[in-house]
Amino acid sequence: MNKKLLYSGLGAAVVLAAAGGALWLLGRNSEPPVKGGPPTARLISSEQYAHAISYVFGPDVKLPGSFPPVQRTNGLVALGTAQAEVTTSAAELYVQSARSIAAQATDPTRRDFLMNCAPAQPPQDACARNVLTRYGRLLFRRPLTDAELNEALGKVQETTRVSGDFYQGLASGLTSFLISPEFLFFIERTEPDPKSPHHVRLNPSSMATRLSLLLWDAPPDEDLLDAAEKGELYTKHGLERQVDRMLASTKLEQGVRSFLIDMLVFEKFDSMTKDPVIYPAFTDKVAVDSREQTLRTLVDHLVVRDLDYRDIFTTRRTFMTGDLGMVYRVPVDRPDIWTPYEFPADSGRAGVLTQVSFLALYSHPGRSSPTQRGRAMREVFLCQVVPTPPPDVDFSKFEAAATTATTARERLTAHRKNPACAGCHKIMDPIGLALEKFDGSGTGRQRENGLPIDTSGDLDNVAFTDAVGLGKAMHDDPAATKCLVSRVFDYARGYKASSGDNAWLTDLNAKFAKSGYRLPALLRDIATSRAFYAVSATAVSAPGVDRAPAAPPLRTASIQ
């Protein structure tokens, strides 16, 4: 594939448009306008990298390790990738990884299948050209330029000459792709919009990549690249055909999983510790399983069953392993494998907030933390920002209470007597205390220090008596679905929505409601919208530079 083909593909799109088959390009009246942001250059994440290598070279190619973490920005790691830089230490990992992958792809067990160069005789340039053209396109997500192809061919020839091994030569060529910024950064590029002379649009490759990252958390596959290069994504029908194909693919689960890992702040698992003396059942395996349990529950609920998003706060349906069963204290028929499980109606558990992942992650190593749990509910599921604590808190009242108080509620009530603490703790504690019948490992309990636990409270004036009631209140809170919509939209574009996107987001929220709060429908609405691909005509710098909290901090006054 070369530029000529690419351009002829675009030409075809333009012809189609001119024929009146793509009035969609001019705008659908039902879709409110958005300004669009500048093109981005997101750094590939460890997951995206793994998905790319698995698709291009096969799932059995081993990756040496993961790459350094990216800063969470405006609520999502995905937004941090649009700002992340690569340090020398990180570059070293990319280079090591590239060499390892290229060596595996060209080793005797894979070379014939992947390269198909045997039994050609040296100098084998024609085969090298084919291999590089094919894999270069998949890794760069666009056809290689002649200069890029020749540069890589040069590396193949040089290494082959020096080492006397053609496959080592091919490995050098592939390594050069894998360490190129064209692979490691999703560099979005624009082109003049033929329908609007003063505007630009994402070029086909960038459009395909945005789409594929949203739905699959992976670079485009060959079908999508083919369609993009033919200009099909610029037509309503062509775009919808690709979106529907991708939504129907099993890779959608992988894409939704990645989004959930980001939204749920699951990198916190990396630093979670539980005291083995206090919580002997909470092993490292339990930590891993609890994370997986929540992901399985949500992917099953949202994708496989295509159910109402709000029900993630109320569903009793989940999956269980033997190790998890020890913490939940429920019998498990097949402890060695993941088995579907439904909590009984009287179990006191319903929804994601009563799963071990949430309960244990937002607790201390040796005890629960209503404050952390309350804060996480606000920030993770409602997209609200709880201000950070003041530095010079006078703990004396709290300490005095700590010597006598025996339940978390009593201790925190004392805490709230301090005016400097009261504002924020009023936001966090009442909802966090609803989960107090689960200890710091997520195991159920009825009493704390011998005293009965009171789980009643309210979520912004919606009263409840226990964790199940809290789940219902979260289910009914319009902030929960709005939060999801804004998170998905930000995740999709790689930068924070601005006030110029409000009308569009309002429309998107309405469509989400109309769909019965189905995530795949939301993804389809975004993926087929103009807003998703819109880029501003003039701006060239990276968007979203401001890392200040996106939502205004909750003020005490609005809660009281």
Partner: protein
């Protein structure tokens, strides 16, 4: 006709199956008679590093009463006794925020590392001091710097070029061994040197990537261009590292090769696990320095929100600082102090390990300067005036040691400024706003 023997020809010859050994003279040739300087007259390189522990100290049992030499060691510093002569302690220096909020457990370390109090938690206004020093002295070794975190958490790093370029730490001894002493390590004292032709080819691939730069960056906006350029800079550094590997490494008298550490590094942040991890990583770091693999390092014992925990106790160190009641008789938080003492024991081990490793006429520590500090003075109230700071090592005889310096309320940046000068940088001043300073701490300068 006599053919010229070029390095390339040598390399090709190697690949032909005929190993070409390039021998070079032994170490003594490089050092002067005293082992204090290279025979060429150039000084033996000075290493620089940082050491961090979270959550400050308890004044009552940490602060010496005596200023100057032979200062008294209170309970929390008791473990420093074996290394006291190598250490300077700096107290009563301030972090001034110029009206910016004191961000709990964040403002302190950011200000001490980059000279500017942050306006938010991601505000890293300029590169950390180790990066400035690494830019000046980090070349010529395999690694510009090594970042290590005994917490085991890859997110714990206080070494950064910017908020978007934080240097990721190595989090276990196993990983550190693999990185430094793995297959790519070249023993500097091996009598024979055979350049590995694979390295030349690897270098060629990196060079090829660099050549894409112009075509790529012209399509990018300013901010993204900087980011992608940073990647090309990193690639250039790696290329330089490969270039070094094609040359016979300078011999290193103090270099000995470590055993591979046991596979199990221990999980979590229980204080005993952290201490073991810290010890194992320190031992490897000492050899990495002695073998000239790097001249700059950063070690984190515990993070600013220290998650260090103690088996059987429900609260982490951070939580303890806020929730533990001061013992009415002793007048301090007993469990909090237990954690601080563990940190100081590890610091003592760290300095002791550098001091115990002989190099030339002295020790590795004599040719090293370590900057140690915490994030708060008293963590319970997040005070950032009087954050404890220390140095260890005499930086090739450029600073005095064994002193307790009273900052008398001066900006804490005076220490970072002094260290830069000691390491050969010449900033006219360092820090911003009230933290800006051009005053060295003269008491420690030789």
């Amino acid at each position: 006709m006599t053919k010229l023997v070029t390095r390339r020809r040598v390399l090709r010859g190697t690949l032909g199956g005929a190993a070409v050994a390039v021998t070079l003279p032994f170490l003594e040739c490089f050092l002067d008679g005293h082992g204090e300087a290279l025979a060429s007259g150039a000084p033996v390189p000075t290493r620089f590093g940082t050491w961090f522990w979270g959550l400050g100290m308890n004044r009552k049992i940490f602060l010496p009463k005596k200023i100057g030499a032979n200062f008294d060691l209170q309970e929390e510093l008791e473990s420093l006794r074996p290394i006291q002569q190598h250490v300077n302690l700096f107290t009563n220096f301030r972090v001034l925020t110029d009206g910016r909020p004191n961000l709990c457990h964040t403002t302190g370390w950011i200000a001490l590392r980059c000279g500017t109090a942050p306006s938010n938690r991601n505000d890293l206004a300029s590169p950390s001091v180790d990066v400035l020093i690494s830019d000046a002295i980090g070349g010529g070794t395999r690694f510009r710097s090594l970042e290590l975190s005994a917490t085991g958490n890859v997110r714990d790093s206080y070494s950064f070029r910017s908020a978007d370029a934080i240097n990721p730490p190595v989090t276990s001894a196993t990983k550190l061994y693999e990185r430094v002493f793995g297959p790519e390590f070249q023993d500097p004292n091996s009598p024979n040197f055979t350049p590995d032709p694979k390295i030349m080819l690897q270098k060629s691939v990196l060079s090829g990537v660099k050549e894409q730069r112009d075509a790529i960056v012209k399509t990018l906006g300013t901010a993204d261009r900087q980011r992608v350029d940073q990647y090309f800079t990193a690639i250039r550094e790696l290329e330089g590292r490969l270039e070094l590997q094609l040359q016979k490494p300078a011999m290193a008298e103090a270099c000995t090769l470590p055993q591979a550490p046991p596979k199990e590094d221990g999980e979590g942040e229980f204080a005993n696990v952290v201490a073991d991890r810290h010890r194992a990583m320190t031992d490897l770091l000492v050899l990495a320095l002695a073998c000239n693999q790097t001249r700059v390092f950063n070690m984190i014992y515990s993070a600013s929100f220290a998650n260090t925990s103690r088996v059987g106790y429900s609260n982490t160190h951070h939580l303890v600082t806020h929730e533990e009641i001061e013992d009415p008789k002793l007048g301090y938080q007993v469990l909090n102090s237990w954690y601080i003492r563990r940190a100081m024991e590890s610091w003592s081990y760290f300095v002791g390990a550098l001091a115990a490793h002989k190099e030339g006429a002295g020790s590795l520590l004599d040719r090293t300067l370590v900057y140690a500090h915490s994030d708060t003075e008293y963590a319970k109230v997040h005070s950032i005036d009087g954050i404890p700071m220390m140095t260890a090592g005499s930086a090739n005889g450029r600073i005095k040691t064994g002193l307790h310096i009273d900052g008398q309320g001066d900006p804490a940046t005076r220490l970072g400024y002094t260290l830069q000068h000691v390491m050969g940088l010449q900033p006219s001043s360092w820090g911003t706003g009230s933290m800006n300073t051009n005053k060295e701490i003269g008491e420690i300068l030789v």
